[in-house]
Each structure stands twice: as structure tokens, then as C-alpha cells.
Symmetry: C2
Subunit: 618 residues, 2 copies
């Protein structure tokens, strides 16, 4: 169906007008970045996309990701023109009680995804497009990128994967307005360079005048039947429509002054010409076709009891793989993402059993997280695993997922110096610190196969944000029974008596150092309790303080992680103002290659170190 | 000069042999990844490169970065054949006392850079090549990449920048052995796809048989005169030389068993044919030509007193810019890197005054950090600024820099909710936590222009690792005098008396909330001390505990940062076991867009919140 051109041109004009008005009202924002995208967004929302404006939860709606999140005014202006937002809403842009934030967040129900850290939208779009493919849905995903943000490597990670998997239900539009924040972009108006780059990455590129509505319509129509992902390279002008600023440097992120508003709007109207006139046309949304199955109800995810052999050692990373398989059976909407380490992180068996729900992301962690976000936003339970150290590669994407309140399940293997010979580049030593710092996150650290299995079940049911599970490379003995219970915020007591003089609080691999120390100290008539703090965030502070007070009120924390922000400092905070005496054993020297035992000793986090400090404290 | 082909072939054979022997001795490592690169590395070290094997500090040596760090055996084998390492050294590979780590680190003086987190080497190489250009040195930089790691976006960030700046003293070699860790790569043996991608990014590609020494020599010679950066796409076989594993899946990171070693070496010799025979040829290194000036002695960097107007507010991000200019004048080897936010972070003036020492990295933070590492490794004092939030994008690169003990100076602007309307995506709220967790890092957080200036001087002189400075978007009053002193680990007392009942420990923007609270509390006859903890890491624990004990032994910490891993938990750790009573005010709710005051109030980190909690504690 062809919508009248002059209707679309008028909508684009109105959206420019609103973009100017709302940023001036807010006294901040990026009007010029919105103006360059106005015609593209008008054509997308009023001509190209099939969606139900009333029901954003419709799983068949076409999806629109504003990767250049600072252009938020154009998104809000579109929803104003779609009848969902009012003028009053727009005038509250960027104020504390408004859901129309400076950069889109899910507080505005039509945002699709939190953006604003550049270069992340394309990965989210790939994730959504993959969901459509998995679930046989007919919706199409559109991602609007700024030209400057294509310098971000994450864009090319997404581009390469989409090209490789021929994700042809995905269209990226690059708003080539030539100007970045502080100067011209690398490629400026060399549109063919963008096209060449995307072509080399397996995409079908189109070049278009991003202010010519007729051309835009034609290109979107032509692009529809590509067997490859499509990129539309649209030449635009930053500040389009206002001659004072159009295509000029120095106006990024600068709203027009209140005193100039009338003049600016006049200028805008003048340049818009006939587009200023209202067009009498009864626009109706093109509702999406029904497609795919309805989403299965899978919560709570409930697993059978784990079946590990009691006296056989298992690496928690492998137990993670076992649990993941069970979760995959229990919940058909579980998906698993890997970055070419599936044989190390335990996800290989899931890949074999559920190939259609497994996304091999190759060595591109940023895009892996972005895709997991897109999949989660479309109803999937996304589990992502890599070496814990390599989540640092995607920490910005994880940060943005937390801001977007996206439930992501992350499992970081090869934690700590205990991995041994591969050396420090492969050791996760800051993962607890960075995952604790995320709002609404949980951080779990099992020591054996059974607790791993149970904690994975717990993660599957945690929907309020990021959950992080830390696993170990080496094999560890089973210390729990299959029917032991594990609760968020809780801990378990592995050793204790009525005459304990101190508590050793630890988790993961160092549990076994503590257990060794326990035996030696026992022989010296030093009685200690051993606490498995498998839930490092949250911690039930009251419960922990109570136990510690009843068991000597002396504490040693031990962890195979840097001191700062780790388990010890989490415990210290949980026990603040309780009068406890505490010593924290943690990794404090830059580690190196060597055997695990040598490294645990070098960092003073082995049984000997625990014994020595316990003797000193008592 | 043409080295005999059979000499090079023999060297390549020996390097394969050593790679096998040392990984089998270690019982771990990646022999098959070393074997594929053996001919390339032999040709580079014995034919192509100009360097002094005896003196790795020679600033004119050609540089070799092993981006695929897991192939470390081939690097160590090369240095064995160059006479720098002994067989005994190789046999100690990956043991605790050896400097030959699983992935290269600077503990081995010929490593050039710590690698092992994939996709980072090319950025480091670009940084080194830029140093050569800045300092008019004739050396050439070679970076050896694995094919699988080219999926990392950071590779394309580096590629794009090198293409844009036509960095033609740089050659990347891709060891296309077809197999990643857990399966085939996306492009497998489609060599032309690699070539097309790099060509689209502004490079000159060459395709070559990576096991044909004659072809390799010819290609390196041909590549020499390119006006663009060169990529050599080399077709190789993983496990080359050992038929049992050659070009087969399932052998990544797997050394040969000790019991199989003889057989494997026989097989290797058989496939090597005539290359097994020693060639009598007196190889001599091609020493580098002298070029460029000798490095200036610039330490310690000493700045004139700051000259800010006492009663004029200045944003610390702008004071950072002022300090940076002064540092630039004092030390000619200071370089500054930006990711298209120079007008926001304060570095714009440096860019104008010292354009030749300023690297516009566009919106690609990972490559920016990687280049800063390369520049620092070649003797530059690298200062890098972006929004504090966006250092999360490059946290893996920063982590690797810390492992490499590279002194990097990082300044993160727009810290905390106090940035206001732009919303959470732009707020650095986890930066203190992530920077504290780095080994050998320092974390500084000034509240006014003078302390900013002084702390930048301090950073310029900190060479033991990463230094991080946190700056604020909004303007703040001057609270210090130009001759006030600031020391690493120290703090300063902004308010105190002999009858203080509690201490407010804070830094940065919340200093001014504390000062407001001070006045109100004073009226209520509650006397408090105010401590500016501008050095969050390290902290002089003894000194702080002493002061706190003498001033009520009650503490409130306040910070515009998430609770976990921030200033409060650093203080809590510093004051552990002192009997202090402490309350930590920090950001605990997911923030949003709004005015700074509204957000400080929402998070309970403003003057009112301080007053309320102080009243409760006393």
C-alpha cells in the first residue's frame, strides 16, 4: 500500500518541529541529530513497517531499534504522531518524572531497547531477527544507526555475523549526516565506502538520498526481497531543515535557545515548503500478520534432581553444561550463545542437542551479548557463556543490558589464578567486582557440580536483571547432596560446631583450601566454621551477621579474585558495624603462568595461608 | 639481502620442533596454532625484519606483535633460534619461575606487548606505527593475527583507523589456518573475503601460501612500498607438519602426549623433508638504521602552579583540559587520544595546540586504548579521555594493559548521576569499581579545578600501571589554594574541629553536598569533619584510621557511584577492624534522566540525605 508522499513529508516536518520544540523545552538534547533522521523515520513508521501501535507486546510487530539513541526526540515525535504520546508528554522530555529519557530506555514502552552507548543497536537487531527466524515469525527488524557510530567495532561484529548467517529479515539504515560529535566522520559523504564495507561483510547495500521520501520508499521496497541483510546508506544533513545549523559543525547536542525558537520554527516551515500543510488522509497502521507459535509458558523453570556421581570430581564449568541441558529440556524458550569456546565452557552438549536454539557467535563477545539482549527482549531466556575474563570485552553491552533491565544469564568460566598455566590474560579476576556493580544483578559462585546445577535453575528464574555464575576450570569434589537447597542471598555451612572461634567465608575453588585448613586447624584445637557464600550478591546480611556472631565473631574471607570489589569486600560490607574482626585473603599480586597450586600459594589464598592467618587471629 | 631459502625452511622446521617439544614438556599450550605460523615467523625474523636481537630497547627495531598470543611457542622458538633463549628456557615454558608464560607478557623482554585476549594486537601495532610517524623513525611494525580473532570488532576499529590515516608502516599478517578453538571460522579458506574486507577498510591486501617461503619473501618485498597499510592473508594449516593433526578439528590447545613425542617428531621430520638438514650459513641480523631523535628525558613532569580564578566555578573536566595543556608543554612525549568527545572531555585545546601529538580515534574506544598502549610501549606518555561510562567499552584492553604493566593515563568525564538529563547510559557509575580492581592501578577523583590540575601532574609521573582520573560534568567552586599539595594515597581535610562527632568521607561532586550538610549540622550543634578522599586507591589506611578515631570514630561515606566496589567500600576496607561505625551513601537505584539535584536527591546522596543520616547516627 502506498501512503501519499505529501502525507509522509508532512509527518516528517511535524516530527522535526516536535524534535526542536521538545529539546528547547528540556534545555538539553540533540535536535540536529534528530532532524537528519526525520524523513527516514517518517517513511519507516508511516509507510514501511507493519505493527500495531496500540500493542507493543504483539510478537509479530516489526521492530525498530534506534541505535543512535541521542536522536531520541525523533522517536518520541514519531509516537506523538502515532497518537501514543501527547504534546504534554513531549514537553516533559528529560524531566525526572517523564519516561521520555534523554536516551531511550524501556521506561517508555515503545523504546524496544535501551540505547545511548553507540554501536550497540545492530547486535540487538540481529538478536531480534534471529528470534523471528527461530520462531517462524514474519516480522522484520529495522535498526537506525548514526554514521559516526559505525566506527565502533561492535557494529562490524554484528555485520559479520548477520552476513555469515544471511540474516535477511534485518535492515540497517545509516543516517549519514557527515558530522560526529566533535568533528566530521572518517568517511564523511563517501557513501560508497559504507556500501563497500558492508558488502565485504556479506550485506546488500543501497545508497539513497535520506531526505527524498520517494527515493526512500523505493529503496525500502527494493530491499525487501534481498537474500542478504540489507544496509541502506542514506545521505542526510545534520540539522536538516534549519539553515542556521544545517550541515554545520559545532551544533551537536545543542538545543535551540528559547528566545530563538519562534525564528527557528519559521525557518523550518519555510524550508519545508508545501510539507507544512496538513494532508487530509486517514492513515491506518498496517497490522502485522499472525505468524509463529504463541510463546510457551515456561516459568518457573523446574529441573529434576541432579544426578552426579557422589565421589567423582566434576569441573563446575562442565556441571554448568549439564544443568544447561536440563534447563533446555525444561524450557523450550531457552537459547544459548557462545563465542567459540563451547568446548571449554560446557555449552557444547546444548549445541549438539538443540542446534536451533544455539547461536555460535564466533570470537565477538560484544555482539554475542547484544544478540542475547535482542533475543531476551523477544521472549527468549538467553544464557551466555565465555571465559569470565572475556566478559570484560562486552562490559559496556552488559552495562546497557542492566540499564535496560534485560534478564541475561551469564556464565563465566576459568575464574581465578587456579586456571594455572594459561596465565593472567585468561584468568577472570575482576569479574565479581564488575558484575556486583551492575544494578539489579546477582552474582553466584558454586564450588561443586550440585550447587552449580541448582544455581543454574535459580538463574533461569531470575528475571530482574543480569545473573552471573562463576565457574572453575579444574575438577572439584562433590560436597552437596542432590536435594540440598540453594536460595538467592543465602549461604550454606559446610563445617561448624558450638565452639567455633572463627568463620572462614569463601566460595568456589577456595572452599577446598578452606576445608584442608579446617583439618589442620582442628588438630591444633582451633575450631572454625566454613561458610560457602555461593550467593555473593545479594547477601542475607542479618542471617550472616547472626551466624558469625555465634561463631567467634572472627572472619577470614578467601577468594580467587582481586581484593577490590570481590567477595571479601562484599562480606565486609554485609558485616559492617557488627564489631566483627575480619581478614581478607584475595589475589593481590599480578599473577602469572604456573601450576594452580603454585599460584594459590603465591597469592596467599591456599590452605597454608588460611592456617597462618587463623593462627594469628586466634 | 636474500637469505637462503633452505636456511629459512630449516629454521621454520626447528621452530615447529621446539613448539612441539616445549608444549609437551609443559603439558599444556597450543602447538597446532604455533605450527601454522612457523613459516611466516621464520621469514619475518630471519629475512624481513630489521632489528637488533641483543638490544630490545633500540627504538629503531622493527616491531613484532603476536596478536594470537596463544601461539606463544612459535615466538619463544624464534628467540631460541636467535640465540636469546636456551633449550633449558624452553623446557621451563609455563612454569612458575619462567618468564615464558602461556601467553606472552612483558616478563619476557622480547614480548613487545601482553597478548592473549584476542583481537587486540592490531591496535597496539597501529599505536607503534603512529609513534614511528610522530618521531620520524624508520621502523616497521608487523602484527600476526589468527584468522578466528578477526571476528573481534576491535580488529576492524584498528583497521579502519589505520586505513583512514594511511598508516603504511604497518603490516598485518593473518594466519588463516581455517580452524578456531571449537570449530571452523566463518570464512574458512575464503581468503578473498579477508582481502575484500581489509580492502574496503582502506588496506592493501595480498594473498599468499603461508607455508611457501619463497612466496612469503616475495610478498613481503612487494608489500614494502604500499602507500596503504598492508594485510597479508596467508593460507596455512593448523598443526602444519604433523599429519595426525594437520587441518583437523579437535586439536586446539592440546599438546602432544609425552609418550607420543618421538613419533610426532619423526612425523614432523618426515614431512619437513630436506628442511630437516642443517644449513651452513652465517646468519647476521639486519640491524636497524638510526632514525628519529633520541627520546627526551621528561620525568619527573613538573608543572607551574595552577592559575584558576579563585571565585569562578570550573568543571573538573575543563580543568583536566587545562592541566593537560600544561603537561603537554612540560613533557614533549605526552600524547593525547580522543574518541570524538574532545569538546566534552576537555582535550580540545590540546588537540589545537599540539595537533601532531593528538590522535583522533573516532568513536572506537577499544582501538583508542590499544593505540595508547602501543604509543606508551614506544616511550610516549599516553593520556586518554572519554566519558567515564565508555571506558567500560574498552575494559578488556585496559585489563590487558594492566597485565602488561603499561602506564596509561585515563580520564573519565561525566561521572555519576550528576550529569543529569542525558540519562543512565551516559553516567559513569561503575568506573571506580572497575578501575580499583586493576592490579597496580591508582584511582583519583578531584572535586575542583586546582586538585584536578595537581592530580594530573601526579598521574603524569605514575609509571607503575593504570592511573584513572574521574571528572565531573558540571561546574564546581574552587576549594583549594594553588600551592596546596596532593599526594598519592593521601586525603585532605576540608572541615574539622577538636570536637567532631563524625567524619564525612567523600570526593568529587558530593564534596559540595557534604559542605552544605556541614553548615546545617553546625547550626544543630553537630560538628563534623569533611574529608576529601581524592585518592581512592591507594588509601593511607593508618593515617585515615588515626584521623577518624580522633574525630568521633563515626563515618559517613558519600559518592556519586554505585555502592559496590566504590569509594564507600574502599573506605570500609581501609578502616576494617578499627571499631569505626560507618554508613555508606551511594547510588543504589537505577538512575534516569532528570536535573542533577533531583537525581542526587533520588539516590540519597545529597546534603539532605547526609544530614538525615548524621542526625540518626549521633
Amino acid at each position: 500500500m502506498q501512503i501519499p508522499i505529501d502525507f509522509l513529508a508532512h509527518k516528517a516536518y511535524l516530527m522535526r518541529k516536535w524534535s526542536i520544540i521538545m529539546t528547547t523545552a528540556a534545555g538539553s538534547g540533540h535536535p540536529t541529530s534528530a532532524l537528519s533522521a526525520s524523513d527516514i523515520v517518517a517513511v519507516l513508521f508511516f509507510q514501511v513497517m507493519r505493527f500495531d501501535p496500540i500493542d507493543p507486546t504483539n510478537p509479530n510487530n516489526d521492530r525498530f531499534i534506534l541505535s543512535k539513541g541521542h536522536a531520541s526526540p525523533i522517536l518520541y515525535a514519531a509516537w506523538k504522531e502515532l497518537g501514543i504520546l501527547t504534546e504534554q508528554d513531549l514537553m516533559a522530555y528529560r524531566t525526572f518524572n517523564s519516561v521520555l529519557e534523554g536516551h531511550p530506555t524501556p521506561r517508555f514502552s515503545r523504546s524496544e531497547a535501551a540505547t545511548g552507548s553507540l554501536g550497540q543497536g545492530l547486535s540487538i537487531g540481529v538478536g531480534m531477527a534471529l528470534e523471528a527466524r527461530m520462531d517462524h515469525r514474519s516480522f522484520h527488524t529495522y535498526v537506525l544507526l548514526g554514521d559516526a557510530e559505525t566506527a565502533e567495532g561492535s557494529v562490524w561484529e554484528a555485520a559479520e555475523l548477520a552476513g555469515h548467517y544471511q540474516v535477511n529479515n534485518l535492515t540497517a539504515i545509516i543516517d549519514v549526516n557527515r558530522l560526529g560529535q566533535s568533528g566530521p566522520t572518517m568517511d564523511q559523504y563517501h557513501l560508497e565506502r559504507y556500501a563497500e564495507k558492508f558488502r565485504a561483510f556479506g550485506w546488500q547495500p543501497f545508497i539513497v538520498d535520506g531526505h527524498n521520501i520517494q527515493s526512500l520508499i523505493a529503496i525500502f521496497a527494493e530491499a525487501k526481497n534481498s537474500s542478504k541483510p540489507v544496509v541502506i546508506v542514506a545521505k542526510t544533513h545534520k540539522g536538516y531543515g534549519v539553515a542556521d545549523v544545517q550541515d554545520k559543525e559545532g551544533f551537536h547536542g545543542k538545543p535551540f535557545a528559547k528566545k530563538d525558537l519562534d525564528h527557528v520554527l519559521q525557518e523550518l516551515a519555510q524550508q519545508a515548503g508545501s510539507a507544512v500543510k496538513e494532508v487530509s488522509y486517514q492513515w491506518q497502521p498496517q497490522l502485522p500478520k499472525k505468524s509463529g507459535a504463541s510463546s510457551p509458558k515456561t516459568k518457573p523453570v523446574s529441573l529434576p534432581l541432579p544426578a552426579f556421581v557422589p565421589d567423582k570430581k566434576v569441573a563446575t564449568r562442565h556441571a554448568y553444561g549439564t544443568a544447561l541441558l536440563a534447563v533446555g529440556v525444561a524450557a523450550p524458550n531457552v537459547v544459548v550463545l557462545d563465542a567459540d569456546v563451547k568446548n571449554s565452557t560446557g555449552t557444547e552438549n546444548f549445541a549438539k542437542q538443540f542446534p536451533d536454539r544455539f547461536v555460535e557467535s564466533f570470537i565477538a563477545e560484544q555482539n554475542m551479548i547484544g544478540m542475547a539482549v535482542g533475543l531476551a527482549l523477544r521472549g527468549k531466556i538467553s544464557f551466555v557463556a565465555t571465559f569470565g575474563a572475556f566478559f570484560t570485552r562486552a562490559y559496556d553491552q552488559i552495562r546497557m543490558a542492566a540499564i535496560g533491565r534485560v534478564p541475561l544469564r551469564l556464565a563465566g568460566s576459568h575464574a581465578g589464578v587456579s586456571i594455572g598455566q594459561d596465565g593472567p590474560s585468561q584468568m577472570a579476576l575482576e569479574d565479581i567486582a564488575i558484575m556486583r556493580a551492575l544494578p539489579n544483578s546477582i552474582v553466584l559462585y558454586p564450588c561443586d557440580a550440585i550447587s552449580t546445577y541448582k544455581l543454574v535453575e535459580l538463574m533461569a528464574n531470575y528475571d530482574d536483571g543480569i545473573s552471573y555464575l562463576r565457574t572453575t576450570r579444574g575438577e572439584t569434589p562433590i560436597v552437596y547432596e542432590p536435594d540440598d537447597e540453594f536460595k538467592l542471598g543465602d549461604f550454606s555451612i559446610l563445617r561448624s560446631s558450638n565452639n567455633d572461634q572463627l568463620c572462614i567465608i569463601t566460595a568456589g575453588i577456595t572452599i577446598f583450601e578452606a576445608l584442608k585448613a579446617y583439618e589442620t586447624l582442628k588438630k591444633e584445637n582451633i575450631s572454625v566454621a566454613i561458610i560457602d557464600l555461593y550467593s555473593i550478591k545479594p547477601i542475607n546480611e542479618e542471617h550472616l551477621a547472626e551466624f558469625v556472631a555465634a561463631h567467634g565473631n572472627y572472619v577470614i574471607t578467601v577468594e580467587d579474585h582481586y581484593l577490590q570489589g570481590g567477595l571479601g569486600q562484599a562480606v565486609l560490607y554485609a558485616l559492617r558495624n557488627t564489631g566483627v574482626t575480619i581478614q581478607c585473603l584475595a589475589v593481590t599480586k599480578l599473577p602469572r603462568s604456573g601450576m594452580p597450586e603454585a599460584l594459590l600459594a603465591y597469592e596467599d589464598i591456599d590452605a597454608d595461608a588460611i592456617i597462618k592467618i587463623a593462627q594469628k587471629m586466634i
